[in-house]
Point group: C2
Chain length 193, copies 2
């Protein structure tokens, strides 16, 4: 994204909007061009092919996830330092989770559900790693690693849980009346330690 021209950036933002509106399959060069008020062939002067545009949308999604998790970490650090007795269950206010892991889980879910189609695009296919900014993937993984004290197996388990919850929720796999907040709590509580 940062290495793009201004016009390239506009195109990627339109592509993201298109994906978010109508799903990953709706991202076609023609639909994208329509969205921008130009003709499809013009896009090829800015990107070599469709995959390149897609990769930029994925990079954007990954970056947003990283930023959302980092912001949650910071908020948690601030609230923890102002709570002298740590973060027992009692210390959790209405909008303040009890533990760092719970805070990250909430942020992960909120971010994914804020743009579910982009989340799926970034998640339900192999990552185009060669086309992503150096270090972005690792950056997105770091908050969870820190919260798990660099126990990589536990971090992966937590990530899988969070991804699974979001994926199943987005695809409508849970019953309509399922109490998903309770399922998240059940998972986070046990994975906590």
């Amino acid at each position: 994204m940062s290495r793009l021209t201004p016009r390239g950036r506009e195109i990627v933002l339109a592509a993201r909007a298109l994906v978010e509106e109508s799903g990953p399959a709706a991202l076609t060069m023609r639909a994208l061009a329509d969205h921008l008020g130009i003709k499809a062939p013009s896009l090829y002067k800015h990107f070599p092919d469709k995959a390149a545009v897609e990769a930029e949308v994925i990079a954007l999604g990954l970056l947003e996830t990283a930023e959302a998790l980092e912001a949650a970490e910071e908020r948690f650090a601030r609230s923890a330092s102002s709570a002298p007795f740590g973060s027992g269950p009692t210390g959790a206010a209405a909008d303040e989770p009890g533990t760092l892991l719970a805070a990250l889980a909430r942020a992960y879910r909120a971010d994914a559900l804020a743009h579910p189609h982009v989340y799926l695009l970034a998640t339900e296919r192999p990552l185009p790693r060669h086309a992503l900014p150096e270090g972005l993937e690792a950056r997105a993984a770091m908050p969870l690693m820190r919260a798990c004290d660099f126990d990589v197996d536990r971090a992966r388990a937590v990530w899988a849980f969070a991804h699974g919850m979001v994926s199943l929720e987005i695809h409508g796999r849970f019953p309509d009346d399922a109490d998903l907040a309770a399922a998240w709590r059940a998972g986070v509580r046990t994975l906590e330690r």
Copy 2:
């Protein structure tokens, strides 16, 4: 599946083979017909449309998952009754997991990785519930429910963990050298109680 004609069954099996070979997107009416040695329009005498064929493949996948989990339950029950001191960590032989939940997790992973593309087809889109045999979805969910003593929130958390692990693994999202068996153990161990 059970309500299909013999020829319908053959078509669905070919469709499943096609999906498994080349992914959900490779399931086109033409490719399917080629696989069967007939022309695409002939398929419409057996199924009203492509979605109907897809739904049968999904039903097949769901049924296999249910059977795999039920088989794991039975194997566990048999091995537990022959182990007088229960299923402590010591009681776990090379191919025998320590707990029912671990056994189910292993079966879930093995089943999914035995036909990853069918797993994705059955999992990464809204279920065509109207086209599935009555009760199949619930049947596939039961083993996990039983293992969780009907604590539905915990069962959902475990399911999300297992689905997330499989999904991320299939899509190549973990590093190549990741010790996924360890991540599964970490997840199952903590979700155990």
